[in-house]
């Protein structure tokens, strides 16, 4: 009989331990979901994410225009193609200004440099500037700022060309 009491007690002790473990796990899960960051920025599906940049002909080849509201740069390459690039440096997220005198993006934080295509011209940046998708319809150019695309280097297929009219 004594043995049985003993095993019952140890069973109950273990049960308490397991229940305590479950309660602990629940609290962790609650804290986890409580602190989980919730999306506040517009996503691809939102109307707000689509920024209308304007008619294609507004942008001269070889120039870069800043869009403050959308937090991106619209670059028109010499061959007439477009790239929409995030203004955040891929190194440590500083805002990179376009220095037209040098024809480069130069980061004030750690002196990374990017050319007009967003390609790294000078380290420490590890990747080319991030891209946003561009859509050209009826010669009006729009940029979807809800869809950030990361890339390591520049490739020709990243460029969007307007239809020849």
């Amino acid at each position: 009989m004594e043995k049985e009491t003993h095993s019952r007690r140890s069973f109950l002790n273990k049960l308490w331990l397991v229940l305590g473990g479950v309660a602990f796990a629940e609290i962790i899960a609650v804290l986890f979901t409580f602190f989980k960051p919730r999306k506040t920025e517009p996503t691809a599906a939102d109307e707000a994410a689509i920024i209308t940049a304007g008619p294609v002909d507004n942008f001269e080849p070889g120039t870069v225009s800043a869009f403050v509201a959308g937090k991106f740069y619209l670059a028109r390459l010499e061959d007439g193609g477009f790239l929409a690039m995030s203004r955040r440096c891929t190194h440590l997220s500083c805002t990179v200004p376009w220095v037209s005198a040098e024809n480069k993006f130069i980061c004030p934080c750690h002196s990374s440099e990017f050319d007009i295509r967003g390609e790294v011209a000078n380290p420490p940046a590890p990747r080319a500037l991030d891209l946003y998708p561009i859509n050209i319809r009826n010669n009006i150019l729009t940029v979807n700022t809800g869809k950030l695309r990361k890339r390591s280097v520049f490739a020709p297929d990243q460029v969007t060309y307007p239809k020849k009219s």
């Binding site: 602190f35 989980k36 960051p37 506040t40 920025e41 403050v68 937090k71 203004r87 955040r88 190194h91 440590l92 997220s93 500083c94 805002t95 990179v96 200004p97 130069i106 980061c107 004030p108 934080c109 750690h110 002196s111 790294v120 011209a121 000078n122 380290p123 420490p124 940046a125 590890p126 990747r127 080319a128 390591s152 280097v153």
Partner: protein, 449 residues
């Protein structure tokens, strides 16, 4: 007995014995103080050149910070629209508001510096050896709480300095493989600093970290009592078991501590009267100031980022250094050097060589990297030529230094490890100095202002 006497008696029961009220009150006060202290301490531990009063200074600064911080809580509003305004209002409209903010600012900066020196003092007197091993770990915990407090407090004014320092520091997390980006978004509560970040940092700064400090600080003190007080300072060759004369804690230790506290408070108040805490323009996410620098205590790491691929500058190297710091008290040492500054005369000489060597090589390496390697490199930073290669060179130099200095001086591992530690600390200090004073516009190296 009238009512006043009865009340007084209930507060100071000791007084009942005699009519000497003053004597009784002092006794109660003393026995209260002695809750934290032994009744007597070895006379030699009172020597200023043992502790330089650094631990005491840190404690005083911490209490200045608690006091001023508590008052600042009544003036500050934690939202991006209002934070900056509330600071400007505090500065310009509230009587003593600017002084209060200055006290908090300068105490926080002084605390960073003092705890760093305190850590060095403990290391160079071998005060981490048994039975104080775990107190070194508690000390490192307190140190990180102080760093995090400074860091989280940095964002709160929501000016340009705050915004960009936090942007840079948190973007460093991005480079932790796998979980980095998620971790960053947790800390910032979004993908870039915003109102939720401010709320997070405010809660961490004013609740979590103070509670942590209030828990670990008494723990730190209690472990000193458990280890029977401070280490006994001695000169090389002196017998460690000789304790020397004992002396009453009150007044000898307490009076010294009180005078130190008064001096620290006076220095902070004077500094706060003549030097204002910086406040730049309100945060503007569209414009990074040029140059953008992290807080000064992170400039060593920012300088490393100029030279190493981020995975090495932020993960590999700090990870190894942290591991080294944690393992310092648990290494098997050949000699007992507790209480001797720099282990021995030989150790002192070796540490000095390490300082000179580290200063020259670090400056040389920074210049070489800046003007030879980076100047000729086009294209992005990559893991091999900007990471593994320079890291291997640095590692080889460290190992080579350790082996050759140990052999040249036929030193104990106490002395050799001390020399290696000195080498690393000196390099870090040199990198910090370069970052703070020798980086100008565009983070270019420059000479003079």
């Amino acid at each position: 007995m009238n009512i006043l006497q009865r009340i007084r008696l209930s507060v100071f029961p000791d007084k009942q014995e005699t009519n000497q009220h003053k004597h009784g009150r002092r006794k109660t006060f003393n026995s209260f103080l002695l809750h934290f202290r032994p009744r007597s301490v070895p006379e030699r531990t009172l020597r200023f050149s043992l502790t330089w009063g650094l631990g005491g200074m840190a404690a005083v600064l911490l209490f200045l910070l608690f006091g001023s911080g508590l008052l600042l809580k009544f003036a500050y509003e934690a939202s991006p629209g209002k934070a900056y305004e509330s600071i400007v209002y505090l500065n310009n409209q509230v009587p003593f508001g600017r002084l209060l903010r200055n006290v908090h600012h300068w105490s926080a900066n002084a605390l960073m510096f003092v705890v760093f020196l305190h850590c060095l003092r403990v290391f160079y007197t071998s005060a981490f050896a048994a039975p104080r091993q775990f107190n070194w770990i508690i000390g490192l915990t307190l140190f990180s709480a102080v760093v995090l407090s400074n860091f989280t407090g940095y964002l709160l004014p929501w000016d340009q300095l705050a915004y960009w320092a936090i942007t840079i520091s948190t973007s460093m997390l991005d480079y932790i493989p796998g979980v980095g980006t998620a971790l960053k978004e947790w800390v910032l509560a979004g993908s870039e600093p915003g109102s939720k970040t401010l709320v997070n940092f405010y809660a961490i700064h004013t609740a979590i970290l103070p509670v942590m400090l209030l828990f670990f600080l008494p723990f730190h003190f209690w472990r000193i009592r458990k280890a029977r007080g401070l280490i006994i300072p001695r000169s090389p060759g002196e017998d460690p078991s000789v304790k020397g004369e004992m002396i009453d804690t009150m007044p000898h230790l307490i009076m010294r501590e009180v005078s130190l506290a008064v001096v620290v408070i006076a220095v902070i108040l004077l500094t706060s009267m003549f030097f204002n805490a910086p406040l730049e323009d309100i945060a503007n996410p569209g414009l990074s100031p040029n140059p953008t620098k992290a807080p000064w205590y992170f400039m060593g790491i920012q300088e490393m980022l100029m030279h190493f691929h981020p995975v090495f500058a932020l993960l590999v190297i700090p990870g190894l250094l942290l591991f080294g710091l944690l393992s310092i008290p648990y290494i098997n040492y050949e000699a007992n050097t507790t209480g001797i500054w720099f282990c021995s005369n030989k150790g002192r000489k070796m540490a000095l060589i390490a300082v000179v060597f580290a200063t020259l090589t670090t400056v040389g390496a920074v210049l070489f990297d800046e003007f030879v390697v980076i100047a000729n490199q086009a294209g992005p930073s990559n893991m091999l030529s900007n990471g593994l290669l320079p890291f291997s060179v640095v590692l080889a130099v460290c190992i080579g230094f350790y082996v050759s200095i140990k052999r040249t001086f036929s030193a104990t591992n106490n002395e050799a490890i001390q020399a290696l530690f000195t080498l690393l600390i000196t390099s870090f200090v040199v990198l910090t100095v370069i970052g703070v004073w020798f980086r100008g516009t565009g983070m270019q190296l420059m000479w003079g202002a």
